[in-house]
Amino acid sequence: MRGVDKIFETTSGHVQALDAIDLTVAAGEFVSLIGPSGCGKSTLMRLIADLDAPSAGTVSVFGKTAKQARLDQEYGIAFQSAGLLPWRTVAANVALPLELHGVASAARSGRVAELLDMVGLSDFADRYPDQLSGGMQQRVAIARSLAEQPRLLLMDEPFGALDEMTREKMQAELVRIAAETGAAVVFVTHSIPEAVFLSDRVVVMSPRPGRIREIVPMRLGVDTRRAARTEELREERGFFEMVTAVREALHGETPVTAGPRGVETR
Amino acid sequence: DGTGATDGGTDGGELTPVKLQLQWLPQGQFAGYFAAVDQGYFEEEGLEVEIIPSGGDIVPQDALANGDVDYAIAWVPKVLGSIEAGANLTNIAQIFQRSGTLQVSWADSGIDSVADFEGKKIGSWGFGNEWEIFAAMAAEGLDSSTVQIITQDFNMNAFLQGDIDAAQAMTYNEYAQLLESVNPDTGELYQPDDFNVISYQDTVGAMLQDAIWADTERLESDEAYQETTVAFLKAVIKGWVYAADNPQEASDITIAEGSGWGPSHELWMVNETNKLIWPAPDGVGMIDEAAWNATVEGALSAVNEAGASPITEEPPATAWSNDYISQALEALEADGVDVTGEGFEPIDVELAEGGN
């Protein structure tokens, strides 16, 4: 992504949603986008997915244009709301992309079974979305986004609607799945602990116009690899340090504020 | 009984309010009643008459039976049905002496008589206007299953466009509508010789039409109503005499009363209506027993496609009475009014396009 700008024309004038964004995501890397509301996280993601076109600059995915990447189905995508089709069963929802791209029925059902297994919903294949909890729905959406084994996973606040406990479970699961499939992930979130827990790098953005303020690399404890991101991690010291680092990047202060602050966390 | 209902009671103070229910919108068919209002004939008799037009679904004899009005204009066979259904009504004046119903077909259609109806598409308005057709057909040995009955709407388009082989038409209205229409082949108005005309008056099915009906029980028990009835009939007769003598004025009066027809059509209607009334050898409004019996005969023999007949048995004797019309005629004759119309001469009316 090179020098990307995005300007929306509205009735009340221009909105500069993104300004001179440069960002490269390595294969298999997990990158989170974080920033206050309206800073352009979603817009950035939509540009990568070719759901919108940039006003300036170029977006390339695996060396192709974003459009070509979309047509070639190089990525899977998940949104804040699960976006399941309510009239399709869980299995049929997961099968949707396969169906649209002409995968034969037998191959399809095999793949769907595999995916539902992966997200732990094999028993719910014939349920309808409204019979599932929010967390389960989100898992279906993730299974769907993985259906065609994309090398890039785009997720826009996929856990935003979930309660904290479900959310933590889903995070752990996502880490596992991403590791299993080896896909690169671009993940939008509002939650600092979530970003810290999941990511290799956290991209902190600032609004009006949407800019990248800082890219915070995550080095959690000694072992920085994904396998280490277990539940216990959340209670580690390094975790809290990283949370603090992102907090400060986000609040845009050079970290000189006074006040009673535990020295250990620095 | 100081209202002096019998003799020119304008000086008697209060006028007696009377409601008359028509069987259609205001039009030349009812010119006599409007003329009687306009010329003050009702007032002279001490009456204040309100004429109530009807529309698509108002049944005049029911309005009378329900007590909504004091008198109603309606066709005899329709009322016979209502009487059998429980209405208590009496025909007190048979204004139209003749049937004005026609069945019109194209000149080249080969339908010149009721016998030719078989297998054809026969138009009718329904609403009880169809009994003459079924009676005439019954006399020819046809029943309703041998033809296809098509309900006609308010105009003759269905006939003109060939949806109907023989259309029902009143001499005073629908027949004129035909003669007011442009023949697309010639660009001129249709001419009488473009059509075959079957007049029910010439068939066994002929039935009595516009008559004035009154409430039987009130006639029997209410003396004031009896007096009002005679007074009312006197004024009505004077109205029709006026219409016979002054068709143009009568037509103008009707238009002023809210008829929406154009002047030529209205005049035609008054003139044709006059022909159904005049001359009246027994005096206008007198019920001819033979014609009455023929109507009853016809009504008993007619059967529609649902298997229903207007009546299944002879109507009661109270269904008609010449008592009141005779009194009215006598009084008028005494005043020197010509109530037979011996010298009646219809006028010639030229129809304009669209009746305008």
């Binding site: - | 698509g56 259904a85 429980g86 209405a87 296809q148 309900t151 006609q152 105009n155 388009n157 949806d163």
Partner: protein, 270 residues
């Protein structure tokens, strides 16, 4: 006490509720029928003015063959109108949803069709399509059905959520795939609602149209003929038949709605 109103709803076991749902309307119906019969037979409103339920039933039985025949004629007209009106409504709504221009251009025409009285159209349509065929009535039933189906379908086509549209774009789905997998299923409950609303309109329009010309034999023509000959109990018998016909249409479309939506949430997609 008044706050009970807010909480009070729903303090009832499920069994009593389903019983009451059936019993309540029947009770109301019986009460009305009872008052009616009472007015006629005890108070003595003349049977000529207001036929008693009993005499209506009598006529209903006496004219049963004719009633069946007439109901079939009117019912067929209504059904043909409903089917073609609905198809047309759905098709045109699809076009209007797809091309804004068609939507804008059709707006005044649809608005006009929505307010035009049947009485105004019937004679004209008879003239245009021929008074000797049932087509005029079918056309009227069709127009009456068209409007609610069109409006509801159009609304349904607009219900697709941005998430779903984005999803389809992300899948690079072509427009017929989008129509098949997203737009139509989303709109389906709306289409069915439109058809249900249209169903009783179709019956009543087909019936009223018979008042204004065309072949005889339908319920409308027989109601008017019976009423014109003061056979009010018979007219009522035909009216009852027409109510039953309207109900059959309504319940059939309601059943269709339930059937198609079975096992699926009726609500808007999440």
């Amino acid at each position: 006490m008044s706050t009970v109103a807010a909480t009070g709803r729903g303090r009832m076991s499920l069994r009593t509720e389903s019983t009451l749902r059936v019993v309540a309307p029947i009770t109301v119906g019986l009460i009305v029928l009872g008052i009616w019969q009472f007015l006629v037979s005890v108070v003595g409103v003349s049977d000529y003015l207001l036929p008693s339920p009993a005499s209506i039933v009598e006529e209903f039985i006496a004219y049963w063959p004719s009633i069946v025949q007439a109901t079939l004629i009117t019912g067929t007209n209504a059904l043909v109108g409903l089917v073609f009106g609905s198809i047309l409504g759905i098709a045109l709504a699809a076009l209007a949803a797809r091309w804004k221009v068609i939507d804008r251009m059709s707006a005044p025409v649809v608005a006009a069709l929505a307010v035009v009285p049947i009485v105004a159209l019937a004679p004209v349509l008879n003239s245009m399509f021929g008074a000797d065929s049932q087509f005029g009535r079918q056309a009227i039933a069709g127009i009456a059905s068209f409007v609610p189906v069109f409006l509801n379908t159009l609304r349904g086509f607009r219900q697709t959520t941005p998430v779903h549209r984005d999803l389809m774009k992300a899948y690079a789905a072509n427009s017929s795939q989008v129509l098949r997998t997203l737009t139509l299923p989303t709109a389906r409950p709306f289409i069915l609602t439109g058809i249900r609303i249209a169903s009783s309109l179709a019956v009543i329009s087909a019936l009223v149209a018979e008042y204004f010309g065309g072949p005889r034999g339908g319920l409308g023509a027989l109601i008017s003929t019976s009423a014109a000959s003061s056979a009010y109990a018979r007219a009522w018998a035909y009216v009852v038949a027409s109510i039953v016909l309207g109900l059959i249409f309504y319940l059939a479309t309601l059943g269709l709605e339930r059937l198609v939506q079975r096992g699926r949430p009726a609500g808007v997609a999440r």
